[in-house]
Amino acid sequence: MQRSDPPGGAVFIELPARLENLQAFIAPVLAVARALPLGEERCSNLELALEESLVNICNYAYPDRDGTVRISSRPEQDRLIVGIEDNGIAFSLVEAAVPDLSVDLPDRKIGGLGVHLVRSLMDEVRYRREADRNLLELVLFFHDAEVST
């Protein structure tokens, strides 16, 4: 191998919003991420954020019908942006209440960690409702020690 092309990665996938498709959504986006200067720990954080947001769409976005999810991903100059779209019921992951994590076990809510993890582990999370669609964006900036320019 004499030289390296730019890593080259882009993903657009639309599939039924079903748990059996989780890996089909996540694996290509992670492959894009792993070719970027993000580092393994942040790629693992991304994997988790993807799992949490996709599982929630599968479980909650379409309470009374089948529906699809679109995931798209492409590096920009200094960041990776992953877009996740559905046309299920309106839900803002950015504004949703998260459980109080400072209370002790008896009072601690068992659920609600998914939304909290996505917001905590990503550098930026953006949400907007457009027509009848939820548009979620997860952003990770390249700022890993291994950056190669």
Partner: protein
């Protein structure tokens, strides 16, 4: 996901390896049923081989801890690594549960 549970003195040690995600969380919970059926009320999780955990797995720690607290015991966490440790920390688990660097250190707190 692989789990094996062993008795060490008055506590149980559950060694969890691999990935605990939305799909494997149910197997994780099932793997703990044996531990919860026994009379020991302390359970140390050896997390040195845990590579990935999502909220479905975190949920199992919370419900397991509640059951053991009802018996007068609790869980201890040991040896979480890298991004898994970060996930536990961000989820507030290190204020809810004692986390020690090694299984032995965790057993010594019981």
């Amino acid at each position: 996901m692989e789990i094996d549970v062993q008795v060490e003195g008055k506590a149980l040690v559950a060694c969890v390896r691999g990935r605990v995600d939305t799909v494997s969380a149910a197997a994780f919970e099932k793997g703990l049923a044996y531990a919860l059926s026994r009379e020991e009320k302390w359970l140390v999780f050896d997390l040195s081989g845990l590579e990935y955990i999502s909220s479905a797995g975190l949920r199992v720690f919370l419900t397991t801890a509640r059951k053991l607290k009802a018996k007068g015991g609790d869980i201890r966490l040991a040896a979480a690594q890298g991004s898994v440790k970060k996930v536990f920390q961000v989820s507030g688990f290190f204020t809810l549960f004692k986390h020690l660097d090694t299984k032995e250190a965790a057993l010594a707190t019981i």
